[in-house]
Structures are given as C-alpha cells and as structure tokens.
C-alpha cells in the first residue's frame, strides 16, 4: 500500500459524456499542473530516443501529444537532420515545449495546439509519428481507435513509421503505482482509473494566498492490458482498409488481372517496458502484379 493515500490510483467508471470527461479530467488538469509536470518529465525514454535516432535525414514527423516537448530536440547528435512537429491539447504545456532544449542547442520548436483525435494535417503529410503516453487519455475504445486512425492517416502510406506508447496495468516492480482492478472490469478491456497529481501551493503558479496547502488533481487514464494495444491498432488498420502483416501478404491473387495498389501495416515490435506497452509499426504499399 502506498504510504500516502492521496497518491493511490482510483478505479472509476466513465459515466459522463466522453468529451466532457476528457475536458475535465485530462485537458484542464494538464493546463493546471503544466509547469510542475514538466519539471518531472525531462528524461527521454530510450526506446523512443532510439526510434528517433533511426529516422532518415530529411524526414518530417509528428509528436502527437508532445506534452513538454522533450522528444522534439531528438536525436540530439543529428540536430536539424530531421524535424519533429509537436501537437498537444494543453496551451500551457506547449509554451514549455516551444523552448524544449537538449544539451546546449538553443532552437525554437514547432508546436501546434490541437487534438490527437482530429487530423489537422494534409493526408500523408508525415514520414513518421510518435504517440507517447497520449492515447490512454481517450475515454472510450471508439475514441482511442479514432486517435490511432488519425495518426495513421497523417503518415505516408508507402513508408510511414510510428511508435505508440500507452500505460499498462502491469506495472514495473519499481513503480510507485499499483493498479486496482475494479469488480466491474471485464477481461480484455483494460481499466479506467484516476491517477492523482498532488500540487503544493508553492508549485501551483495560479494559486491564490487563500488556496489550500495542496490540491489533488485527478488525471484520467485508460490502463491497457496485455494484447489490448495490438488489438486496437489492428482494428484501426482494418477500419481503414489496410492489410495487417508484412508486405508479402499484399501479394495475393489479383482478380481480372487488374493492377491495384495494396496498402498495409506491419507491426515490427510489440513489447512491454517499464510499466508501458509499446508498438512500433510501419506502413507499406505494393503494386499487385498482373496475374
């Protein structure tokens, strides 16, 4: 049991209308905790850093749910060879992200105020995308699937690559969190929870003199269970008419000798790391040969 009960994760059921729920328990919370949150989120996760390191020179990417923009300056040793544009729902986090630095590079970042469930980009605009700890803030399966589809639509269908991270019910032994399983939960569907963020008066820039010593903000998360992220991505891909698998699977028999382009999505990595599930994927396009 955590010694401080104000930090315990609380199982919930989303009963409000989903957008209203996310506004109150995701968007408003991040705007309020932005500067304190950002001061605790400065270390890039190695899997994300390696993914960004593997991106070819000249590629442009989207960080959907960029938060404080800590991934925007990466890879630090290849500064300026690729460009990642950050999108987030929190204006206060974007103000921090704009000046995100790594080492001594002093460069202004590109950031856009927007929602990860919408596509404010021309189709196939990006060569790569990352979605790190973002999709778990959408409060229904349908909305999480739409967020994945929005991400896929912004990618080049022939070579687009993406890395998606979400929080897992299965927490690391070192994690301070343990995820209670509610009685209403059903297997395969994850768990809806509030994760408290405790903000002291000193850390809260908007606090008035009469404010209480500390305030607890409840952030909504959908904690994923094993296999759920894969199912979500495959469902999103099928909904867009993509073949899931390697490009070889696009080369089936072709009706009437018609040449046609077949598009697909290949999952190249599906893992758990430090209390998160992540999937790396790539899109492909093959022209079916004449039969």
């Amino acid at each position: 049991m955590p010694s401080d009960t104000s930090k315990a994760v609380i199982p919930i059921q989303v009963i409000d209308e989903p957008q209203a729920h996310e506004k109150r328990h995701v968007h408003e919370v991040y705007d309020q905790i932005a500067s304190h949150f950002s001061s605790t989120r400065y270390k890039p996760w190695p899997v994300v850093a390696n993914f960004l390191q593997s991106i070819p020179t000249g590629w442009v990417g989207l960080d959907s749910g960029t938060g404080n923009g800590k991934y925007l300056p990466l890879p630090a040793n290849r500064s300026g060879e690729t460009w990642t544009i950050g999108l987030d729902r929190s204006q206060n986090l974007l103000r921090i992200a704009m000046n995100a630095n790594y080492g001594d590079t002093n460069c202004i970042r590109e950031v856009v105020l927007g929602d990860a469930i919408e596509t404010c980009w021309r189709v196939s605009a990006f060569d790569y995308a990352i979605s790190i700890a973002t999709i778990h803030h959408f409060s229904t399966k349908e909305r999480r699937e739409r967020a994945v589809q929005s991400l896929l639509q912004t990618l080049s269908p022939s070579h687009g690559r993406a890395l998606i991270y979400v929080w897992a019910i299965e927490q690391d032994a070192l994690s301070k969190r343990s995820i209670p399983i509610s009685e209403q939960s059903s297997p395969g569907h994850g768990e809806d929870v509030f994760v408290p963020w405790v903000l002291s008066k000193q850390q809260d820039k908007s606090a008035s003199d009469s404010a209480p010593e500390r305030r607890v903000h409840h952030r909504y998360y959908h904690m994923f269970e094993k296999g759920e992220l894969r199912d979500l991505i495959c469902g999103a891909a099928h909904g867009m008419g993509l073949t899931v698998g390697s490009p070889r699977e696009g080369l089936g028999p072709v009706a009437d000798g018609m040449r046609q382009k077949i598009r697909g999505l290949e999952i190249v990595e599906d893992s758990w790391e430090r209390s998160n599930y992540y999937i790396e994927l790539r899109l492909w396009e093959v022209e079916a040969p004449d039969s």
Binding site: Q19, T57, G58, L87, I108, G114, C120
Partner: protein, 123 residues
C-alpha cells in the same frame, strides 16, 4: 511557432471540408525572422514532399518573393539557402490562417496556431 514548414503540412479539418482546404491563407500575419542553422541534407530530403505552389503563394502573402514559380530540377547551394530561409526562419507570431473553402479562422497567438475546433465542427 508556426513557420512555413508547418504551414505546408496543415489543412482545414472542419467536418465536410475536404476540397480546397489546403493551403490555409494568412491573415494579419506578424512575421519575425529568427536565424536557424542551415542543414543542406535536411532541405534536400524534404524538398520532394513540399507542396510547391502552396509554399510560393504563402511566402508571397508574407512579403517574401524569393522563390521561383516552379521548383527547380537542380538545386544549387544558393537555392537551398533561400528555401531554408523561407521554410525555417520566418516565424508567424500573431495573426490567423483562414480556410479558402469554408472560411474557418485558425488564430495564431504567441507563435502557436490554434487548430482546435468547436464540437459541432468536428467530423
């Protein structure tokens, strides 16, 4: 920040607005120039992905007429540096971007474009 590199990728996404929704047209744009490090390999790699006419027209709206109407086949050093300047050194700090099709206005404030829609506008 909104620079022309980002502007060349943004499109209007109001429900039902699917044709002529790119590029967004600048309105009352306040431009600041900030030098950025020139990376030739990046510019060369990004060139084929640019919507050229949109970039040329948008740069002209901002008062920069340095780009040719047609994207040159051979890119020399001078051209790449001009392109670098247009894509990465002109920052639109205040103003708005307007959709030519549906008229939706996306405000830009403190260098951050606001692409959020009202609930009834979401597709």
């Amino acid at each position: 920040m909104v620079r022309l590199i980002t502007h060349n990728l943004l499109a209007c996404h109001v429900k039902g607005c699917t044709t002529n929704n790119f590029p967004l047209v600048f309105q009352d744009a306040q431009v600041e120039i900030h030098e950025a490090e020139f990376n030739e390999d990046f510019i060369r790699g990004f060139m084929p992905k640019i919507e050229w006419k949109a970039l040329v027209d948008s740069a002209r709206q901002l008062g920069d007429t340095s780009l040719p109407e047609e994207q040159p086949e051979m890119a020399d050093d001078d051209f790449l540096k001009t392109l670098h300047h247009v894509l990465l050194e002109m920052h639109i700090e205040e103003g708005a971007m307007v959709c030519q099709n549906c008229g939706h206005v996306y405000p830009i404030s403190n260098g951050i474009p606001n692409m959020l829609l009202a609930e009834h506008e979401i597709g």
